[in-house]
Symmetry: C2
């Protein structure tokens, strides 16, 4: 019997890819981070590509404007995760030929609205046919960004923006605003030791951020900012929160919290725990992972 | 009854996109060209994204190594079309969870081999699930390239590399070598007034290159380099040739032809006609167009 991708799981696939594609010295950030950062001539350029599959990331009955918005917002959330500034985008879209013109216009309208909202210009793309479902992939190109995963230090505070859980049920997964502005403010004013965006749920993403051989996390479950009307389990497992998850020295955290309240009074900021030498390596509740039941 | 994309056709969709996404002054080349060229800081950066859909651009029974090769070679062919130098790539792939590990390894192996062959490094990507079929999208980033479509001058010679037709039946569509090296040589040594790669067939692509309000083309059908064993119709309509189609002043063409024979003795080069003020606007035989029967 031959092994399938379901047998492997997403983490193993990623590990394999990291081994297979070893970065050269012109790659500042590569596979395994939220964006790639590469040297092009005299500039460092930040790159991200992200795909959305109908039935998986959205349904045909969702308003196409919001589907378009989400397709652009997802890679922008990765730009936020590394603290980068997005500038250009390209859209590759494969879709059924019986799709209506109005659906198509809505889709591109949503893409465009989100791009404009965050100062991004669409400069290219491609359409092709896919009989069964819509698959969209959006490329974002820009500059800046040096926040990695797994670069936290012992005793750093673990911090999360906004509220977690229920993103799918509340429609947040379609209409969320990528935390570009917030991430820029954080990285300009504080030494953010590691950062990512929460897409698969805190239970899966936090280990990706802070678990190394020598470190783990120590989190107070009661501090996790659960969205009203949802359970802790939902906050850990639902995913698609597109909130920032980052670490910062505990000393810096106090002034950061004060500054945040002035800058972004409408967005929650929560210190949920610390990076510890003998911290946990995983939550007992496990979130959503592609290719694994 | 609402209009579908099949009613619109690819050319109309493209026209609509060009209108909707008007380029700013930092865009040197945008929608409607084979690549985008944008300003990032002090550099001009060349961008392309291209998608391949299983059942449309390849079949499951094709060797996965060659499917991977093709996925990378297609956007590289667009880089050749504008005379640009590729440097970085990202792979977004959506695939069924029951895909075997060995298929997956073959796919990435092919992508990697093609990338290395042309000096391209893979720096990121993404995998997600798509239940029915594989959809791959490859982003290539690099520098240079200033060959546009539709910038030919009256009386320019129309030139094509290689042989046309039968790409699918002979397997060339999987194994072709993008004309990166040849395009670089052409654009460095001659004033190429317009260029593109032939992906939808000469009958569709030539009008895209030279038809403007005031110009058309004048082509000798008997000069079209038909692949041995195939018909003129196949050469015009089959598509997926991934050959260069370009225009150059008739005076330059003579020395270009001589130089070409020395540099690339194994690759045919054919002057098939001229750009004329009263030239044709289309072939009577029509090639393959997405979304149009």
């Amino acid at each position: 019997m031959s092994l399938t991708l379901a047998d492997l799981g997403e983490n193993q696939i990623l590990e394999w890819l990291e081994k297979k594609f070893k970065p050269s010295r012109d790659v500042k950030m590569g596979i395994g981070e939220d964006c790639a950062v590469v040297r092009i001539g005299r500039e460092e350029v930040t790159l991200k590509t992200d795909s959305m599959v109908e039935g998986r990331h959205f349904l045909r009955e969702h308003p196409s404007r919001w589907v378009g918005w989400k397709a652009m917002a997802r890679p922008l959330s990765d730009f936020a995760a590394v603290g980068a500034e997005p500038k250009w985008a390209m859209i590759a879209i494969s879709l059924p030929r019986n799709l209506t013109r109005s659906y198509f216009l809505g889709l591109y309208g949503g893409v465009k609205r989100c791009a404009e909202e965050f100062g991004v210009e669409i400069v290219g793309g491609e359409t092709s046919e896919c009989p069964d479902r819509i698959v969209m992939s959006v490329v974002v190109v820009g500059q800046g960004g040096n926040c990695r995963r797994k670069s936290s230090r012992e005793n750093d505070a673990i911090v999360v923006t906004g509220e977690l859980g229920g993103s799918y049920k509340t429609g947040k997964h379609l209409r969320f605003r990528p935390r570009i502005r917030e991430a820029k403010w954080l990285t300009r004013n504080y030494e953010i030791t590691s950062m990512m965006d929460i897409s698969d749920g805190l239970a899966i993403d936090l280990p990706r951020l802070v678990v190394r051989e020598d470190f783990g996390f120590c989190v107070s479950l009661e501090r996790i900012p659960v969205r009203k009307g949802f359970t802790l389990e939902a906050a850990l497992k639902d995913g698609e929160d597109y909130e920032l998850l980052f670490t910062v020295s505990p000393r810096d955290y106090e002034s950061l919290e004060e500054g945040w309240k002035k800058m972004f009074p409408q967005i929650a900021l929560t210190k949920i725990g610390y990076v510890r030498r003998n911290g946990s390596k995983s939550f007992s509740l496990v979130g959503y992972q592609h290719f694994v039941d």
